[in-house]
């Protein structure tokens, strides 16, 4: 593909640029989820650690949640912004605009995998071993990248057309995070809330991820089906919406 080289350069730029002026550079990708998880662990472990069933451990439970939700929220926001922020290029040189959101999603995927290094350490420290199902996290990562890119593509059109959609999206992402069992076990919720949370696709992604990584949750067949179908639907809607509205939107850049 003609634009594969461009995508590679873009992913590279995305990964390194954020920490260009910092001393340890890309090391922050390792450190960031650890620090966030540590703070949340200090705050919540007293409340939630004892509520996890069986042999599940709170520290890796929390950190897996942080990694996944960061990938999703950051991915969606940056993806959606990528078209608008590359407007000066897109209005002058012809490149398929989709390369920007796609590169962002891929960079998020790489960050997600890098984040699994500290997650492995945390797992081992808390006495868990890495499950033999670990290759399946690749599926989780790909599904998440598709979900993120799909939502990002649709939102990028909205972002260009309406400035204030950014704020609405941010609030929505925050609500979504609280409706995902990132730092609490789902069992602490009332039955009605539990049903609501289980309808959130991200809960299924998270279940599968925690299960595949260190057998730290139970993943049902429904979770798998929900994860894969939502990711495919998302990317299908995203590419369709983008294709349909882009010709009219590019004039607004």
């Amino acid at each position: 593909m003609k634009y594969a080289q461009l995508i590679r350069l873009l992913v590279n730029r995305e990964l390194t640029l954020r920490y260009k002026r910092s001393v340890i550079g890309i090391g922050w990708t390792l450190l960031n989820p650890m620090l966030t998880s540590f703070v949340l662990w200090v705050v919540f472990s007293f409340v939630f650690a004892s509520r996890l069933p069986g042999t599940q451990q709170y520290a890796p439970y929390l950190m897996a949640g942080i990694l996944l939700i960061t990938f999703f929220s950051q991915g969606v926001t940056i993806c959606a912004e990528s078209i608008a922020s590359n407007g000066p290029v897109l209005t002058k040189i012809y490149v398929p605009p989709q390369v920007f959101p796609i590169s962002t999603a891929l960079a998020g995927l790489v960050n997600f995998f890098i984040g699994m290094i500290p997650l492995t350490i945390v797992c081992l420290i808390s006495g868990q071993s890495i499950a033999w199902t670990i290759p399946l996290v690749l599926v989780v990562g790909i599904c998440l990248a598709l979900l993120t890119a799909g939502i990002g593509l649709s939102l990028s059109i909205l972002y260009i057309r309406f400035d204030d959609s950014r704020n609405i999206v941010n609030v929505f992402l925050m609500i979504l995070m609280y409706f995902t069992p990132v730092f609490y076990p789902i069992s602490i919720l009332s039955e009605r809330l539990q049903i609501l949370v289980s309808y959130n696709p991200l809960s299924s992604y998270l279940d599968v991820f925690r299960w595949a990584f260190s057998n730290n949750a139970t993943a049902t067949l429904f979770d798998w089906g929900y994860m894969i179908s939502t990711s495919l639907i998302s990317i299908a809607i995203g590419t369709y919406v983008f294709k349909k509205y882009w010709p009219r939107t590019v004039a607004m850049l």
């Binding site: 080289q5 350069l9 730029r13 209005t91 002058k92 012809y94 490149v95 590019v250 004039a251």
Partner: protein, 241 residues
């Protein structure tokens, strides 16, 4: 065969009356029935073709549709009606350095800009030192672009855009880049590209440059072609207007 072929191109923007880009206001206006969509015609029935080795200058006041036409030619903006066909590689030199990033080094930016134009990354990598040298920024190539002066950025962008052979050159007011030495150098390079058989579309307010370089001129007014033909005549008519 014509390198550029534009046939009956129309571009209409749909604009919201009282557009303010806010969902709240759109909602409020929609409730009051005040939201009206108006078609703004940016280009109307524009047709022309450019052959190999031709230099076509586009004249017109601000808002006449020059930039829109360049966007259509670059393939960035699909025309609402009509067709625009470009056979061959395009080197857009519209607002040089649009793809540049201040935190990346000069060399990285050259690579990135070239990849945006669809060039082969490996061959550009080999050419990077030569590009830097031509632009006169060899010593700075490994520093972030934010440490460059604006003249240096423009020179590097010009050097990158013109480094590889292209069939079509889209030029938007960039002949006045850098000091007089560099201006002479860049004019010579454009001349060389023209001699090599590229087609050039030039947007400029600099009438002497148009008279000097162009082989044909198009005068746009309010989105339609007011006059097309010999540059001396078109410029004279345009200036008399």
């Amino acid at each position: 065969m014509a390198v550029i072929e534009v046939k009956n191109v129309n571009v209409t923007y749909r604009v919201l009356m009282n557009k303010s880009g806010s969902l709240k206001e759109l909602f409020r206006d929609a409730l009051k029935g005040k939201a009206r969509v108006v078609d703004y015609v940016a280009l109307q029935d524009v047709s022309f073709s450019v052959d190999k080795g031709e230099v076509v200058a586009i004249l017109g006041r601000n808002g006449a549709g020059k930039s829109t036409l360049l966007k259509v030619l670059a393939g960035v903006l699909p025309p609402t009606k009509g067709t625009s066909k470009v056979n061959g590689k395009i080197a857009p030199m519209i607002e040089l350095g649009a793809g540049f990033h201040p935190e990346m080094t000069g060399a990285e930016n050259v690579l990135f800009y070239s990849a945006l134009m669809g060039r082969e990354v490996r061959s550009v990598k080999e050419r990077t030192p030569a590009i830097g040298e031509w632009a006169g920024v060899t010593d700075h190539m490994d520093f972030p672009l934010r440490t460059f002066s604006s003249g240096m950025v423009a020179r590097l962008a010009f050097a990158t855009a013109t480094d590889e052979h292209s069939d079509v050159l889209l030029v938007d007011e960039v002949l006045s880049v850098g000091d007089s030495d560099f201006q002479a150098k860049s004019k010579a390079r454009i001349q060389e590209i023209i001699n090599n058989g590229a087609a050039v579309v030039l947007v400029s307010h600099d009438m002497s440059a148009v008279r000097e370089l162009a082989t044909r001129a198009i005068w746009l007014e309010n989105g339609h072609v007011k006059m097309i033909g010999n540059p001396q005549e078109v410029v004279a008519a345009y200036e008399a207007n």
